[in-house]
């Protein structure tokens, strides 16, 4: 079962999709690295990125399981 990747704001625009199905990877970081390999323009976000797994705040070291939803969050600007 693949993982669902969610992208927002500028990340979504770079990838041209807000939702992607990707093979399961060991950690959030591995999911991210695969995306950067596909869209090198994502790379500069590595230093300012946050992430979530199944709509809960997570770390890049958080393990990813089959069927998880992994979200990548560029710096936020609500309000």
């Amino acid at each position: 079962m693949p993982v669902t990747v969610r992208l927002f704001a500028r990340l979504r625009e770079i990838a041209g999709a807000d939702e992607l199905a990707r093979p399961r990877a060991g950690t959030v970081a591995e999911v991210w690295e695969a995306l950067v390999a596909e869209w090198p323009a994502l790379a500069p976000y590595a230093g300012s990125l946050s992430c979530a797994v199944n709509a809960q705040y997570a770390r890049m070291t958080t393990p990813v399981s089959d069927g998880d939803e992994v979200a990548f969050l560029p710096p936020v600007s609500g309000g």
Binding site: F8, A9, S48, A55, L73, P75, V76, S77, G78, G79
Partner: protein, 168 residues
């Protein structure tokens, strides 16, 4: 029927959210046998028509809805941990908004004014730090995403900074 925490594409209802927060404070105070609502602070953030010297025609907001709602719940918990009994309700709008339209409503209620003012300010500072919401600014000649804070809800530094701004 309004929920206390929401992301919505519909126009916001500041008066409705304030009434909900007052009701929730009254219910909670009755259960806890403590003082009920005595101070209500309503914060409404609206689209500003000028930013850093540029005319802004509109803002487009997007959010990661389930996590954004969870972040609002977290902010309300953080506020109540520091100031027991305070009640917060938060709604953020998504979609494209014109100048003057409300983008966020924060209703803060406590038994006394000091806590209501403080948690109102705390909540907006915290939303800007940790809530997964993004704005795209439309100006003459183009549009660009505004990139503010890197989200780290467990980082004590920003949390302390939000309280410092709330209680100077």
């Amino acid at each position: 029927m309004l929920l206390p925490f929401a992301i919505t594409a519909d126009p916001l209802d500041p008066a409705g959210l304030l009434a909900l927060a007052q009701q929730r404070h009254a219910d909670q105070a009755r259960t806890d046998d403590v003082e009920g609502p005595g101070g209500l602070v309503l914060f409404v953030g609206v689209v500003r028509g000028r930013h850093l010297g540029q005319e802004v025609s509109a803002l487009t907001y997007e959010a990661y809805e389930p996590l954004a709602v969870a972040s609002f719940e977290r902010i309300a918990r953080e506020a109540a941990d520091r100031m027991p009994g305070v009640v917060l309700c938060l709604h953020h709008r998504i979609g494209t908004l014109g100048v003057g339209e409300p983008s966020i409503v924060i209703a803060a209620v406590s038994a006394h004014r000091a806590e209501a003012y403080a948690v109102s300010r705390f909540a907006i500072e915290r939303v800007k730090q940790i809530s997964p919401v993004w704005k795209r600014e439309h100006v003459v000649g183009g549009a660009s995403w505004v990139e503010g804070a890197t989200v780290d809800p467990d980082d004590q530094g920003p949390l302390d900074e939000a309280w410092r701004r709330a209680c100077p």
